[in-house]
């Protein structure tokens, strides 16, 4: 009868290990295999999936959900984008130092007056300029839609702005219908708002 030997520790612990090994190798082998393959499927699926859909740092584009913001308007009231869920929203970034922005402001005013009864919301976010500058500007053009004050370029950065003006047309379902970079003519604004309100 050939003898076998074992090292390390008592015979009991060796037997225990042996039992575990045998049970893993034997009856539950199928279960172990399936378990590992399922774990691989879930973890691997998550890894591949997050490259396809995740990656939060990608640029905003049509169909994506714009980041929320909470900003003060000129009267000192807080305005939040999520307050307007379910409505057609135009978010416009502007500054007094940018001539096409300045040109657009009265056009937005006319459009706002034209469509506000149908539920259009215009939020004009100033690009972190100081109070006096913004107040003087709004007084000069007599604007009625909310002018929001970004601070330290926080909101503008979260929207990944590259140039001004930039306008986001946001559908009632909260996703972006269109992003317009650069100035627009009044006709262009009108046409987009009309489309937005039909959605």
């Amino acid at each position: 009868m050939p003898s076998t030997f074992r090292y390390n520790g008592s015979i009991r612990s060796c037997v225990d290990i042996e039992l575990v090994v045998i049970s893993i190798m034997g009856k539950s082998r199928k279960t172990v295999q399936i378990g590992i393959l399922i774990a691989v499927l879930i973890i691997g699926g998550y890894a591949i999936g997050s490259t396809l859909f995740g990656a939060g740092n990608t640029l905003l584009k049509e169909g994506s959900k714009p980041p929320d913001f909470k900003l003060a308007d000129l009267e000192g009231n807080q305005q939040q984008l999520s307050d307007y869920a379910g409505k057609a929203v135009v978010v416009n970034f502007w500054g007094t130092f940018c001539p096409p922005c300045v040109k657009e402001m009265p056009e937005f005013e006319r459009q706002y007056l034209k469509w506000k009864d149908q539920g259009l919301i215009v939020l004009a976010i100033n690009l972190s300029e100081d109070t006096l500058t913004v107040n003087n500007f709004v007084r000069r053009f007599d604007l009625h839609y909310p002018i929001l004050r970004d601070m330290n370029r926080k909101t503008e950065r979260s929207y990944g702005l590259k140039s001004y003006p930039t306008t986001f047309f946001i559908k009632p379902d909260g996703s972006i219908m269109e992003i317009m970079v650069g100035g627009m003519t009044e006709v262009e604004i009108d046409e987009r708002i009309e489309r937005l309100l039909k959605l």
Binding site: P2, S50, R157
Partner: protein, 554 residues
């Protein structure tokens, strides 16, 4: 496939299907290989888990990933695709958002466009590259599991007296007739091997000497480490586990770290350049930075944090001088010195008002470039701020305007009331910077009032400006400890597996005829010299090279 295969060895041991060498006595079970070649000793000839008759779909997937060949293909495929990713810069090398669809074509023409369209501009984030890594991970798990248990079993119950065929077909073999008492000879030989660090097990005239068995677990520990490492990297995609953003702070400013409750103040940024005498000839006269440092203070916001109307309440939590290679660290948050900008920025001036007629001076007043008080009272004068401009210019319509929002060429328009001025006030435009005063001819713009009063700054002590801005990189990575744990495991496994080798010597003496066979998983040279050394010690001189039984080095 035939269902029954006789896997019972002549020693009586029942082996599993796929067994190459009898698990008990080591006799080769497969008779179809050539009898002269050394034996295939991998995993001690034990059946691997995946080797099974009648595989079903799960077995097939399992078999696929348990194959070393597939693992090699995966590794090769991974490094080939990784090469492709280095042809042009990857998208993530650009810090600010830019539009890659134009960039690659602009910068590299048609190849750039193809590169972008194939998705190679973000190779390492692409689904197929991650897919390859996932498959390597799977292969690591299954390959290891498939081998480690059978190997453990084989090594844990070894028979001392091996079949003669097993011994003679080792890669290192020695045969000799010996005189005298066999058992005594075996004992003496064993004693010599013991001096080389072998554990000796004898059974009559049979001997098994073994050392460094632990090194067999090295590759598996290494693989476990790699799996941990890969999982840790994967964990970084869990929301809030990782952050990477850049902030710019001018001297004296406090800036919120995006998406956190933390604020950072840059108290002072300093840069030191190498002096000319420290530089070799070629670099003289060039500004080569020696050290740059940001005196930074980290605050945590305690209330009014995201209230746009109120100033946030800040509590200091950490103070550190950030230099390259020495970030500010606080609760997993790290602020690295990234870059700097030495363009000065005007923050505020403290000008005085001079009555040009009497020569009397009033003030100074505090005039920050941004959000100044709207009314300033200086002696008998009242100044109402009417408008301010950051980069003053006259627009196309002849109206004053600003070209940017940074205080590059600031201007302030006041309505001034006071002695000798019209009761409703007179406008006065003030340029804090001397160069702008001249460029826009402040006195001409102000006309008559410029003879009556003047607003001016007395000395540099009344000018408050930031000399520089620092660029900090804000990082957070909660998976980091796991990354290091994985790397450590992997390294320990590698060292175990590479610098120690599992060596075994079997011998038996049958009627004065010594048969010795030795096996190692690596480094045959060392194996042979061990055997030759021990033989030498008991008086048998043999050239270690002559022990080689041919075949290839595994």
């Amino acid at each position: 496939m035939s269902v029954l295969e006789n896997t019972k060895c002549e020693c009586g041991h029942q082996n599993a299907v796929g067994t190459v060498l009898c698990e008990s006595c080591g006799k080769p079970l497969e008779n179809n290989d050539s009898p002269d070649l050394p034996l295939e000793m991998r995993y001690d000839g034990v059946a691997r888990r995946s080797q099974k008759s009648n595989p079903n779909i799960i077995d097939r997937i399992w078999n696929f990933f348990s194959s070393v060949k597939i693992a090699i293909y995966l590794i090769v495929l991974t490094f080939l695709t990784a090469m492709l990713g280095t042809i042009f810069p990857q998208e993530n090398t650009f810090i600010n958002s830019f539009d890659p669809s134009f960039y690659y074509e602009d910068a590299y023409g048609l190849p750039g466009k193809i590169y972008y369209l194939l998705g190679l501009s973000h190779t390492y984030e692409s689904w197929w590259f991650i897919g390859l890594l996932v498959m390597i991970g799977t292969s690591l798990v299954i390959c290891s599991l498939d081998r480690i248990l059978p190997l453990y079993r084989a090594l844990n119950k070894q028979q001392i007296r091996k079949h003669l065929q097993f011994i003679h077909r080792q890669k290192t073999v020695y045969k000799q007739t010996i005189e005298g008492d066999s058992e005594q000879w075996v004992e003496k030989f064993g004693a010599q091997l013991k001096r080389k660090g072998y554990r000796i097990h004898t059974e009559g005239t049979a001997l098994l000497a073994e050392k460094n068995r632990f090194s067999r677990w090295g590759p598996y520990i290494n693989h476990i480490g790699l799996i941990l490492f890969l999982l840790a990297i994967l964990a970084r995609s869990i929301p809030d586990w990782q952050m990477d953003s850049y902030i710019t702070i001018s001297d004296g400013d406090t800036v919120q770290i995006p998406e956190t409750n933390y604020f950072v103040k840059n108290e002072k940024f300093t840069v030191e350049f190498y002096k000319d005498e420290e530089l070799p000839e070629k670099l003289k006269g060039k500004a080569r930075a020696k050290l740059f440092e940001t005196k930074a203070v980290l605050y945590e916001c305690t209330s009014n944090c995201n209230d746009p109307k109120e100033k946030p309440v800040l509590a200091e939590v950490k103070r550190h001088n950030i230099v390259v290679n020495d970030p500010l660290k606080y609760k997993g948050l790290k602020l690295y010195q990234f870059d700097f900008d030495l363009t000065p920025r005007l923050n505020a001036v403290h000008p005085v008002l001079v009555n040009k007629v009497t020569g009397e001076t009033y003030g100074p007043m505090d005039l920050p470039m941004k959000d100044s008080a709207l009314q300033h009272k200086l002696g008998p004068y009242t100044l109402d701020l009417y408008a301010n401009y950051m980069e003053f210019a006259i627009g196309d319509d002849g109206e004053p305007t600003t070209l940017s929002r940074d205080p590059v060429a600031p201007a302030f328009i006041f309505t001034v009331r006071g002695p000798g001025l019209a009761p409703e006030g007179e406008p006065y435009i003030y340029f804090p910077m001397q160069k702008d005063k001249v460029r826009f001819s402040q006195d001409t713009l102000n006309q008559a009032i410029s003879d009556k009063i003047e607003i001016k700054v007395d000395g540099m002590e009344n000018v408050d400006f930031s000399e520089a801005s620092t660029y900090l990189n804000v990082r957070m990575d909660k998976a980091l400890p796991y990354v290091w744990i994985g790397a450590t495991f992997s390294m320990i496994g590698l060292l175990m597996g590479s610098y120690w080798q599992h060596r075994r010597i079997w011998l038996r003496v049958d009627d004065g005829q010594l048969s010795l066979g030795a096996h190692t998983n690596k480094n045959w040279y060392g194996m042979r010299s061990d055997v030759a050394w021990a033989l030498q010690k008991i008086g048998i001189t043999v050239d270690s090279k002559s022990l080689d039984n041919g075949g290839n080095n595994a």
